[in-house]
């Protein structure tokens, strides 16, 4: 355990180095959040009755999404993991007394957390200060906030476990571009990255609520905003635990099978 926490620390500190990039990113995300909220408010004005969440919930959803963007976006890609598989330096990893799955899991989680740690505070402070329709609200009570924190953690693990499948598939395909983009796009969409799940038409939504993608950003963001509360929140967290367990099991199985037949060309 100690070696993994050390690994986690190294990665975390490493990612904290890019502060200027984070600052420039912040400005983009403020503007992005503003535009998204303005668009939703136009739809709200058009027909408040058809709005499936409370407007303030949507506002919280969008700001939280911008603040924790780097935790959940599927298209963040660890180039060195992909490179180690494609170029064969995986051979070094295999000799080390570390489980490769755990090692990569730590690396990805740490990088995502570090990026989010840099970005989330200014965005959140800003989101609590802007004038009314754009201002973010706190969750209704402390219990809800606690559930949210738990759900964020689970969502992050689900995202990482899911992206591990993409890395492992590289053992077979060696070519990351097309398929990766495709999967990232699909998962972001069904996780509520473009339009929150409550805005989906009923039949699509009924299916989407059960997919592993619903256990990603969808769950914590809606728990925070109060759109999912009480027993529903517990059920949602249950769903997250289920998908996390399933994805971990599949990932480990795929990994051990891939490693058994891995051929590293010399050179």
């Amino acid at each position: 355990m100690k070696k993994y926490s050390a690994l986690f620390r190294i990665r975390f500190i490493n990612s904290l180095q890019y502060r200027a990039a984070a600052l420039a990113g912040l400005a983009t995300q403020f503007a992005w959040g503003f535009m998204e909220i303005s668009a939703f408010s136009a739809f709200y004005r058009a027909n408040p009755a058809a709005f499936p969440m409370e407007f303030s919930q949507t506002v919280s959803y969008i700001w939280m999404q911008q603040a924790f963007l780097t935790l959940f976006m599927m298209w963040f890609w660890e180039y060195d993991i992909a490179a180690s598989i494609i170029e064969g330096s995986i051979a070094y990893e295999m000799v080390r007394p570390l489980d490769i799955y755990n090692r990569w899991f730590c690396q990805i989680t740490a990088n995502r957390l570090a990026r989010a740690a840099l970005r989330c505070a200014p965005i959140l402070i800003f989101a609590f200060l802007v004038p009314e329709p754009y201002r973010m609200t706190l969750p209704p009570d402390a219990a809800q906030l606690f559930l949210f924190l738990l759900s964020v953690l689970l969502a992050l693990c689900v995202v990482v476990a899911f992206s591990m499948l993409m890395y492992i598939s590289l053992f077979y395909t060696l070519s990351p571009t097309g398929v990766r983009l495709f999967i990232a796009v699909i998962s972001d969409f069904f996780a509520g990255g473009i339009v929150p799940l409550p805005f989906f038409p009923a039949p699509v939504r009924a299916v989407a609520e059960w997919l592993p993608f619903a256990a990603m950003q969808n769950m914590p963001l809606r728990i925070y905003s109060g759109n999912i509360a009480g027993m529903d929140a517990f059920a949602g967290i249950g769903l997250q635990i289920f998908w996390l367990a399933a994805l971990l099991a599949v990932g480990r199985l795929m990994m051990s099978r891939a490693l058994k037949r891995v051929i590293v060309q010399g050179g």
């Binding site: 668009a39 495709f182 796009v185 339009v195 699509v204």
Partner: protein, 258 residues
Amino acid sequence: MQLYIKFFAMHLKSQMQYKLSFFLTALGQFFASFTVLLGVYFMFSRFHEVEGFQFEHVLLCFAAVLMAYSIAEMFGRGFDQFPQMLGNGEFDRALVRPRSVIFQVLAAKMDFTRFGRLFQAILVFCYAIPNSGVIWTWDKVLALLLMVVCGSLIFFALFIVYAGFTFFTVEGLEFMNIFTDGGREFGRYPFSIYGKRILKFLTFVVPLALFQYYPLLYLLDREKNMLYMFTPVIGLLFIIPSCAFFRIGLRKYKSTGS
């Protein structure tokens, strides 16, 4: 021009060497904007109209912006990758060659996988043009053409501004994305829905609305004044300051040395 065509053929051939990878990436691009389209569809199946625009109307501007952007990106990719070019010293080589710098950056990189997006825009046009209820007289057709052509030139100018910034910062600046990627993403709805202040900003500072919102009003007969049809042309004025900005940056340029 002849030289540019040579470069064009060269890039096309080189990218066609990896056919499967090429098509998969193009397909990925296609799906990336397809989910955005799906999002728009979901919103309109729930709300039916926003600010008086219906789904088919919004599709017209969605497709026009997407097409303008993908054309600009396909040819202007060199400016998008300019930070790398500056960082690895490739740009120094461009400076010593007897051709214009802008031309060389332009010709250095073309990305045809953006065809995925372009194709999507074409499909959406195929649906939206007959279904939008617009009677397509010659002036309407011209207005739509102007939206796409001037739109891609304005996006292109934005890429040049983005590249210009890198003279001062070396790193690429993410905040420019709000106008390039953001222009594409938020251009899916007419810019008026984001409120008056944003519309003003996008009219007078970064003229994205000039090729999107105003000609759309003309297309939908909300404005009869011919001036609205030619607003995209006015937007082309934006190219002058952006090129000037690039040149100022160029004068300040110091090589990174590597």
